[in-house]
Symmetry: C2
Subunit: 338 residues, 2 copies
DNA sequence: TTCGGGAGCTATACCGGTTTATCAAACCCT
DNA sequence: AGGGTTTGATAAACCGGTATAGCTCCCGAA
């Protein structure tokens, strides 16, 4: 028989639909013997719940959503999202919950998607990435009463659940390492200042500079694109007293920066040390391979999924989980200054 | 009122649920005046259909699925999927159909997912990528009677719908260009031979070689990884009569190959020309920037979505759409041989 | 004048589950 | 023995839509 329903099972087992439902969901109301029998029959008929029917009855759809608001152009290169997605899925698959993915242009469109998802009951909860300062999505989600977990930033005063790594600490690790190598002119090519993690990294550099005796430690913001990464590097390397080390907020920008250094005849790591915040195959493909701050992005995603399920099950909970600290993977692009 | 139902609308409009359903779905059964009134009220109460309820009644879920069976590690770097996804979504959004995405390890797991999706009625159809020779997924999908469209390969004798570009022609374009530059020793670093498009590209090279008077034109297969791309390049460049041009089946391998050339002191494009099949920001980040075959991946995805919707609406249709031909973007990595 | 037929709408069954009210039988305790 | 609780099950309502049978009214043709 194709696509059996619980009514079919009930009939074959000689019990009511309700009994079958109880048995299949492991809740009290049937004896162990009956339960066993029903389960065997269900297995035998290879029954699987009809997701829509279950959603309608139980008012949960066993599906969560994730919206990525970035232009597609910059998306693909970064392994970040692919790893994150895999991790999220591994966290969800145990409960066989599915994932809806949407790529949109900006935060406004993203909120619109949440609004639609909520009103159409398409997802039980959502995962947020790229948290900005005073992020409008937080209020929107609270208004929609849609369970959510924030990746890579504290949930804010409103206490959305969150999963985060210590960006500040990671940045301090980088700068301290460079200072220990003897660098005194360190520049920081940052991402857009609207992201919370960008702000945290900039603050970390600024705070550490005097303590480490750095002559200067400017943080220059960009839009995360390779083009601006290259342009900013060009500007930095054209200065009279150019920096001897540059920290980039993404691997793509670091690679672009390396290209500029080569083009300008600045040897890496001889005349310039380069560190990338965020690791990937990109950094390893380069010559010299780039020293990079590696995060376990997969695990990041997995934990986010776990936390989200927790929040969905218990909407009150203010979970706030800190993941493993990023580690600095030293490769060939860093050395003491000439 | 939170989350109004059509019953609420019916009450306020003073009509029956059925009338509201007719009006909202634009089908006959109500007068224009009544329809207008109902639509206004629905708008006013900001009603949105409950996806599960609609799915249960209409037995379609307004959702399609896409499974990517590749290790996550190799996934992120290639912008291919990100662009493809964006395109798919743009094709779906018009009908406000949502997309389920799943990344799995292998084809076996992928079929398992289809099986689950079909039995749980989670998707109306699926999009297939990375078609292999004698692909097991095709039979599985036909058995499940799940509408599907194949990206990048003919649907096979079984006649799944498909969207494809002319790989053979694209490869011929590359080889002819290199031959025109004067190259006679051209090597082809291919992907895994299990993929149909790999086979087509290999055949294209083999067929063109005698006509173009190439001395040799070996196609060496790899697993698409940067590691094997590099290793194969190393082997090629160590030969006594090394090739003067190498065509890579992916941008990642081309970049890895460029790295090997630099490491071995082989100048590009002086001693070696490099062409990447598939374009992305990667190829542009390099020095020299790589000549590459560019496909409109976004459009690819968009068309796949359109075709899938067509097939869902009309399961009999054997749609077979050919997309715009790829074009060769010449950059700095190709030149006449020394 | 009557009948057929379409337009416009209602009432109701239905999709496939979950949940609740109800009930009979068994068990438990003094 | 009798009243109260627990166990195991059923029947029916319900979730929010869609689909359909049927009813009423009105119009035009025979």
């Amino acid at each position: 028989m194709a696509r059996p329903t619980i009514a079919d099972i009930a009939q074959r087992a000689g019990v009511s639909k309700g009994a079958v439902s109880f048995a299949l969901n492991g809740r009290p109301g049937v004896s162990d013997a009956t339960r066993e029998r029903i389960l065997r029959i269900a297995e035998d008929m290879s029954w699987r719940p009809h997701s829509a029917a279950r959603a309608l009855g139980a008012s949960r759809v066993d599906s969560v959503g994730m919206v990525i608001a970035r232009p597609a152009r910059t998306l693909g290169v970064e392994p970040f999202f692919a790893h994150l997605l895999s991790g999220v899925q591994s966290g969800l698959s145990a409960e066989s919950i599915s994932l809806q993915l949407l790529i949109v242009e900006d935060a406004e469109a993203e909120v619109e998607v949440y609004r639609r998802w909520a009103s159409e009951h398409r997802v039980d909860g959502v995962i947020l990435v790229d948290l900005t300062v005073r992020d409008p999505r937080i209020d929107a989600l609270k208004e929609l009463e849609l369970p959510a977990v924030v990746i890579g930033g504290r949930g804010g005063k409103g206490a959305l659940a969150s999963v985060w790594a210590d960006d500040r600490d990671a940045m301090l690790t980088i700068v301290e390492y460079l200072a220990a190598l003897g660098h005194r002119r360190i520049a920081h090519v940052a991402g857009t200042p609207i992201f919370q993690h960008t702000q945290r990294r900039i603050r970390a550099v600024r705070d550490a500079a005097p303590r480490l005796g750095l002559l200067e430690a400017p943080s220059l913001t960009t839009d995360f694109s390779d083009a601006e990464g290259a342009a900013t590097t060009r500007r930095l390397l054209s200065q009279a007293d150019r920096p001897t080390a540059i920290v980039y907020d993404s691997d793509v920008m670091a690679v672009a920066g390396l290209g500029v250094a080569m083009e300008m005849g600045v040897s890496v790591p001889g005349d310039l040390s380069i560190v990338a915040f965020d690791d990937s195959i990109l950094t390893q493909l380069m010559h010299p391979a780039l020293t990079a701050m590696s995060r376990d992005t997969f695990d990041f995603g997995r934990q986010a999924a776990e936390v989200l399920l927790e929040v969905i099950a218990n909407p009150g909970a203010a979970v706030n989980r800190r993941t493993a600290d990023p580690v600095l993977t030293v490769r060939e692009s860093t050395a003491p200054p000439a």
